[in-house]
Amino acid sequence: MSNQPILEVKGLKKHFSVKKGMFGAQGVVRAVDGVSFSVMPQESFAVVGESGCGKTTLGRLILALETATEGSVAFEGRDLYKLSNAELRKTRRDLQVIFQDPYSSLNPRMTVQQIIEEPLIIHDAYSGPGQRAKRIDYLLDVCGISQSHLTRFPHEFSGGQRQRVGIARALALNPKLVVADEPVSALDVSIQAQILNLLKDLQREFKLTYVFISHDFSVVRHLCDRIAVMYLGKVVELAKSETLFDDPQHPYTEALLSAVPIPDPSIEKRRKRILLSGDVPSPLKPPSGCHFHPRCRYAQDSCRTTPPSLEESKTAHWTACPINPFKEKPSQAALIEI
């Protein structure tokens, strides 16, 4: 494994102008608002957070499907936003995406064969005699799709089978980095487990790097090495997966973890929840200072005015909370030991 990050995101911002209210006044949604991190080759990097916090926008920025308002995304050391169209097209082979909704992300008029083959045709890859058929055979095999499905259409399949087809398509060109945006959220648990196991196996087989976007901490814990927690466009905590679960440092992470139900009634019965009051505020009018302060039980006066920056609160553990409430006393969320 090399020591160079495969992906480097620096000061990334994406602001959308939107009409506000009935009179059409312009407002700005700071969907992604100053995000920085780097991902090492073959790492699984998770981005978690609640609906609307900017996860999908961040994913689209990483894939250069969206232009940034500010900041840069470097893939293997090259700034994606500075590449010419031709160069970007070539780089796209290495950057692929798996979407949440296997129902709408596959073209309903294409057969499974056409769906998987299309990227090979576009990039003129595996073009020698018999190579394409061999490649498709291989993809079917590793993704657990039966040969007999090749001539069938997406609507003939269940959600899990469709997601397998989407994954086979994403892997067709042997990418290096895969952005998976809620790839199992639409699936039933028993099927979700199949796909998660598949993604794990494929990572080894293809030496993949994942940026895994999810709102589900349980899924992320199972699959990912490091986790970034987002709130209203900003990363509030970033740490190794185990550390984040055992020793969360940000009050928002603490509350999020404590809200996740644990599939074990004997634990649930003894658990105390930290209930956050109110909803996530509108991204059109985020609270001043620390965006989380109106819902935070540790907030002090300074939190209302000073926006915190992401600091290394412990080794390789980054937190955007200067109050540091868990320095002496570990967070409640970590106290669910039996």
Binding site: D188, L196, F217, S218, V219, D264, P265, D279
Partner: protein, 345 residues
């Protein structure tokens, strides 16, 4: 004194009679629901959870839907045999229901206050004024800040979590004996889900109502349930207390389901996924519907329908493997006076 069940479902089967085929959406569900308790109904998408709930309130379009067998006893009276007028007095009043997507069940052109007070006036003969005051009171109870102002809002002015609170306020307006909640938090963020579940627990204590909680989230089951009914392909395949189901699951599907859930609590190297897909419901299975995905199937599982084996009081499994432990055996279609299935021409 033993508690009488407030609701008893016996051998419920609800089918859809379509042009080409019959969909056996619910094909054998039986349980007793006790006052003040929560029954979780779990199962994969399409396993019949919602159709079962809609059957209880007779909210399904008939045709194509038809309850072909079973009894649904509310305080001893069969809802399936009740005249429409009598049923209307129970629906939304003694038995209330909330759905996954509150936006589709709220009326977008009426204020939240109108909708809550309408329900109160309809079921309790209250005056407009009294109903409005109660609406404000209820909004406060379900945790809407500044209820006397927000009561004038329209549904689109509420966030997803607030809409679900408003739905709960409507459902509770008549202090029902039974609340059926069909995936009430599935569309919500996890911190909002935690708020809503907490609210349901508090209100359950206060009103002493029984809850049927439909969910596919195993964590939510662990948090909320007293009893659990597991559904697969329209059939209730296992039933028991929440402790028994999690500690000692009997049916291979329940075991697979519990093993396939990731948890924030532990990291497993590999999840134990259930192979294959659930079967399509438009075919009749001569044997066990789980046979194609089951790791311990026997020869007879393919063509012999496993009956319901009662393993202890309130503990049931529909798997041939439990035959030897069984105290009592009942066919899943048995329900005392089952009405006749219609004859298809």
């Amino acid at each position: 004194m033993t508690l009488q069940p407030v609701l008893s479902v016996k051998g419920l089967r609800t089918h859809f009679f379509l042009d080409e085929h019959i969909v056996r959406a619910v094909d054998g569900v039986s349980y007793d629901l006790l006052p003040g308790k929560t029954l979780a109904v779990v199962g994969e998408s399409g396993s019949g959870k919602s159709v079962h709930a809609l059957s209880i309130l007779r909210l399904l379009p008939e045709p194509p839907a038809k309850v072909v067998a079973g009894e649904i006893l509310f305080k001893g009276k069969d809802l399936l045999k009740m005249p429409a007028e009598e049923l209307r007095q129970i629906r939304g009043n003694r038995i209330a229901m909330i759905f996954q997507e509150p936006m589709t069940s709220l009326n977008p052109v009426l204020t939240i206050g109108d909708q809550i007070s309408e329900s109160i006036i309809l079921h309790q003969n209250a005056t407009q004024e009294k109903a409005w005051a109660k609406a404000i009171d209820l909004l406060g109870k379900v945790g809407i800040p500044h209820p006397s102002e927000r009561v004038n809002d329209y549904p689109h002015q509420f966030s997803g979590g607030m809409r679900q609170r408003a739905m709960i306020a409507i459902a509770l307006s008549c202090e029902p004996d039974v609340l059926i909640a069909d995936e009430p938090t599935t569309a919500l963020d996890v911190t909002i889900q935690a708020q809503i579940l907490e609210l349901m627990k508090e209100l359950q204590k206060e009103f002493h109502m029984a809850i049927i909680l439909i969910t596919h989230n195993i964590g939510v089951v662990a948090e909320m349930a007293d009893e659990v009914a597991v559904m697969y392909a329209g059939r209730q395949v296992e039933y028991g207390s929440v402790g028994d189901i999690f500690k000692d699951p009997k049916h291979p599907y329940t075991r697979g389901l519990l093993n396939s859930v990731p948890s924030i609590y532990t990291r497993k190297e590999k999840l134990e996924a259930i192979p294959g897909q659930p079967p399509e419901l438009n075919k009749e299975f001569p044997g066990c519907p789980f046979v194609a995905r089951c790791g311990v199937a026997e020869a007879r599982c393919k063509d012999q329908d496993p009956p319901e084996f009662e393993l202890a009081a309130g503990r049931m499994s529909n798997c041939w493997k439990q035959e030897s432990e069984s105290l009592k055996t009942r066919h899943r279609h048995d329900a005392g006076r089952a009405p006749q299935a219609p004859v298809l021409s």
